[in-house]
Subunit: 372 residues, 2 copies
Amino acid sequence: MKFSIERGVLVKAVAQAQSVVERRNTIPILANVLIEAEGDSVKFRATDLDIEVVDKTVAQVERAGATTVSAVTLHEIVRKLPDGALVTLTDDAAKGRLTVEAGRSNFSLATLPKEDFPVMASSEYESNFAAPAPVLRRLFDKSKFAISTEETRYYLNGVYMHVADGEEGRVLRCVATDGHRLARIDAPLPSGAEGMPGVIVPRKTVGELRKLLDDDEAEIAVSVSETKVRFATPTITLTSKVIDGTFPDYSRVIPMGNTRRMEVDAGDFAKAVDRVATVSSERSRAVKLSLEEDKLVLSVNAPDSGAAEEELVVAYADEHLEIGFNAKYLQEIASQVDRENAVFLFNSSGDPTLMREGNDTSAIYVVMPMRV
Amino acid sequence: MKFSIERGVLVKAVAQAQSVVERRNTIPILANVLIEAEGDSVKFRATDLDIEVVDKTVAQVERAGATTVSAVTLHEIVRKLPDGALVTLTDDAAKGRLTVEAGRSNFSLATLPKEDFPVMASSEYESNFAAPAPVLRRLFDKSKFAISTEETRYYLNGVYMHVADGEEGRVLRCVATDGHRLARIDAPLPSGAEGMPGVIVPRKTVGELRKLLDDDEAEIAVSVSETKVRFATPTITLTSKVIDGTFPDYSRVIPMGNTRRMEVDAGDFAKAVDRVATVSSERSRAVKLSLEEDKLVLSVNAPDSGAAEEELVVAYADEHLEIGFNAKYLQEIASQVDRENAVFLFNSSGDPTLMREGNDTSAIYVVMPMRV
């Protein structure tokens, strides 16, 4: 195998590969990226056995072939090469070495045989559809903060992507929850997605997927089966197993009858929560919200270190209400709001509270209260 | 005590205080900043028993007095207040609370009595002189990277500031070493510093001092005794104990007879060292330098992972030489060079090597070789 490629193109392809490989590995070949050169293109493939990413890029291939080499080392080397350099990779199978040359730099890296590289079994996808990158970005960006980190509830360690009935017809929906808060984000159902099985996309896959979604113009090909999900751009294909579990019936958690409506500037609200929470050093800081007509008082009381109080002008026309929340949860949901004011719908101090952006029901958040 | 102060001024004064207090503390009052209001100014004082910093700033004092409050909490609160806010601090000694008010925010913080705050004993300074901030900045910035972190050799855990004989007369000199490399930086001797005792300024003090030296126009008042050192601007006074030990006779380590001279672009050199070191995963990566006439080849050989080689054009006119160094040490000394080329003076592959910037002997570095 021998090919030449521009440093910038190479660094991008290898960056995605090295982020998929696990840092601590007992199986040496899982630290490697499989490089396959053929025709006028080169494929870079990396896997952690749950996720596989393949980046296909154009290169000047002089001699076809394939080998595997440490993804992290190759990435480090290429990253440090000067901008604009032409990099030549040459495989010497007999010596078990890959040579990387650029200008006056010359590297020789240990390889492992391509035959040992675990290529993910291909599978039949029941559903294939295309979605614009910004649509998928919104679905996952606005839900991922609520993914649970508790390993015992493994079925909550991802984003549940499925087809659901929205207020205006069928939607593509992403839901994540850790039992304390929940995010439910809807998008118009892409054509071809109707029969899609619901899948739980693991946290790490959501992170890797994010890197494919930066281009506003890109159209992402999505394929879904009961066990796998695949996202593809013309150059990158990300395949992932999905979490083998049943996502709980989240609809029962979403309060429908909350009528006490508070509207507040989301930025001011998040900053005020941040400030009052400062006086408490506990990990789960409780913030108390006291509502009167058009007035919100946020307060924190930490007997040992002090107390804090802040007043905000809000739109609120219901009777007096006091309710407590985890400060971090409040800040996280408030920071999801990017266009309009945050609208909170309360019931009582013991019931889940609903938050949305203005009157937009395509992204709603639920947060459980805390006793204060 | 009651006074009002602009948020920006307050945040600066408290930032310096909270960086001196130790995060983990068994003595509660050491986490606090002592706030003393009198006349038209307020003093913020913090200490870790080894270092004391006092920041004096102008404020609208309504009622004189003093109290102590958590430095970290106060800093966090003030930092999060909106820009330009006027902050009012009111002490309620009876309740043991300090109230911090700004706009619609109101905080009440637990205080500890000012009488319990340990104020550093004042001492007689044998030497008092003034030095421009850029001069002190250079002395400490260029030497601190070589400070040892080995606690058993506590007398190397700082920068040795003393008066010495330079090539062109008496100089103010800073030296740091960890036994593997050494930095020796000279500055013209300020008037009044002649009789200064040599002192070892601890690493943490060097870090805190750095914050006083950002202003190019500032003149720093320096006071030195056998046990303490003090650096003062018109608003901030930093007092520190010095390390109670004897700095070793470093002059014996500095090679005077090295004649093999290599001149190289410091930036290109550091980048090349960084690249070739990538192939080795060991913590102390050895880089081999092979010198021929006007040619330097840097190489690393890591049997398990690979090898790397890079060629640089240098000025070298002596016979062939091979010598190995720790890659990190080479990069660190090369990054001290900011105006001219790096000049290396070698003797043999087993002898310490000297590095300086062009022909400037006011900053020299020594690095021990490694077997490769």
